[in-house]
Amino acid sequence: MYQYNEFDQRLVNERVAQYRDQTRRYLAGKLSDEQFRPLRLMNGLYLQRHAPMLRIAIPYGLLASRQLRMLAHIARTYDRGYAHFTTRQNVQFNWPKLEQVPDILADLASVQMHAIQTSGNCVRNVTSDHLAGICIDEIEDPRPYCEIIRQWSTLHPEFAYLPRKFKIAVSGAPQDRAATKLHDIGLYLSKNETGDIGFEVLVGGGLGRTPIIGQPIRPFLEKRHLLSYLEAILRVYNLYGRRDNKYKARIKILLKELGVERFTERVEKEWRQIKDLLVLDQAEIDRVENHFSPPPYEPNVAAEEILDVHKQHDKSFATWLIHNTGQHKIAGYAAVFLSLKSPTAPPGDITQQQLDAVADLADEFSFGQVRSTHRQNLLLADVKKSDLYNLWQELEALDLATPNVGTVTDLICCPGLDFCSLANAASISVAKGIHQLFDDFDYLHDLGDIKINISGCMNGCAHQSVGHIGILGVDKKGVEWYQITLGGSSENDASLGDRLGPAVPKDRVVDAIATILKVYTEQRMDEESFLAAVRRIGIKPFKKQVYANH
């Protein structure tokens, strides 16, 4: 993974010093709440319901074991012993003290981490495919480009005060696992007719209040123009994006108001004037790429046989293997998902003991690296198949082996009313309720791949509009209700879910989900997935059953 050089380190250290001074001036009354707000947000600090929340960047979801141990240390020292992974591959702490944040940042800087631009109206942490570098269908590893974009966007002097937040994702494989179409800028590495690799550029995707799927504005962009093209898009947005209404300020609205043609024209016109001034040199791509060269694999095709023996002896292991491991491009290796969706903990939460233990497991089994995924799980990307049985036993003991990855209970969920000051309704307790439907894993596994996303308000942090089943907390005269949508997806076939009908009250939401799942099992054809079934039969049969007795 990318290692800071002296230059990178100096920048992060100076950022800590700057933020320390800003905190000092705020506490001394020299900066007003209003003035401090964007400054702290640009460093990931929210003030919410009970305490501040600090969001820390995990660039494209990649962590070294040493960094994981630092997160454990922070959870122990400054928080209540746990951390929370987000849907954008970042990590959050829910209980830090405002005056201790500079110390937390200094600790983070000591392991090449930071909270720069994890919030606020600026370019946010770049996200990517959690299987980057190991999946079989990859055109090229997207991570070097993520890192190049990270550096370019970090403390960019022109784009620190945009109309609204700005998110970029890069995908290196035809199968989209990074929700690329749902970002302000989505980049797909792609090949042109002559076999050169570059980027397809999409703009204007986004979730939140007005979910929209991004539109292609350039089918092929040469690598050398990557940064100038991004700069052109950002400049057009910075100059013309709406600033009069917070809810109309995302680039998707500018794109809509101008129309994709005029928007593209403006970007291209701006770009032509700067494209020769800001060239991404191949030497720089090579330099960064060197940091992502493959670890010293020991391919082993015979590993399957060892696995077979364990599978026959241990049914739970066999089940876990099916659900929580994935294919790897090197023979004899597998990718292992660590489920942060145990029935006993809020989705995405992990304790400091677990963090330390995962760091040890990463060192022992996966070249010392861990990844965070968009569905709030962790991943050990490079595990030898011959180690899987041992690893599974360790994970079992840590409550990180719930065999539910990609199933109904692998739901994603925002902090909701329990922590977030913007929430209309609880989300964690709904997640819990759904978990309780499944004391029987066989039923869960029979249902197959179903993605449930639960957000506590319209801001949609858990991306409910692209969940196969989306659950959105709404407020009706101070009471918690839930709006259900069906048929959303964030993958290649990205789509927004359709509303099932009127919102349901809190005490009926879990029943409603149970009914929806029942309708699916009754109506599905052969191996048809939930999403395919919804697309085939439409929303009506579900609606009929859910509202039958009301």
Binding site: R10, E14, R15, E284
Partner: protein, 171 residues
Amino acid sequence: MQIIKDKEIIEDHWQHIADDPIPPEGCITVSLNRWKAEKDRLIARDGGEIGLRVSTEDSLDEIADDLKHFQLIALGFPTFTDGRTFSFARLLRERYHFQGELRVIGDFLPDQVFFLSRVGVNAFEFDETTDLNDALSALNTFTVAYQAAADEAEPPYRRSLSKPTEGDASM
């Protein structure tokens, strides 16, 4: 009144003229509207230099041809979160090659002067409550930067001297 210019605290000798009559003597700035309405008279005036106040709602295209008349352009922040000012400054320097004083006025913070100086602003006119020494030291917040901008034509990977070799701070 004192301002920061070219990294020094200096006494300011410019006057911002709103709707008042144009004084015969002294350096003055006017709004774009006033400039458009009284351009000929202002050009003919020989009692002092002319500056232009540009707001974030104005369009730079409109002033491109007139830049040679101005010794100063004052970019006004309506609120400190209005980031258009940063693009305006950079375009004025890099695209329109404006060489005169580029000043920011209005609602902005000492915390912004580092980025502002990177996009080409060389003068800062704060309200009276701001400690100019704080603002002056904020100009040195960072000693490194990843981007090319108005102050630095090349990104770090082309500045071989300032980008140290690999592995200097490896974990």
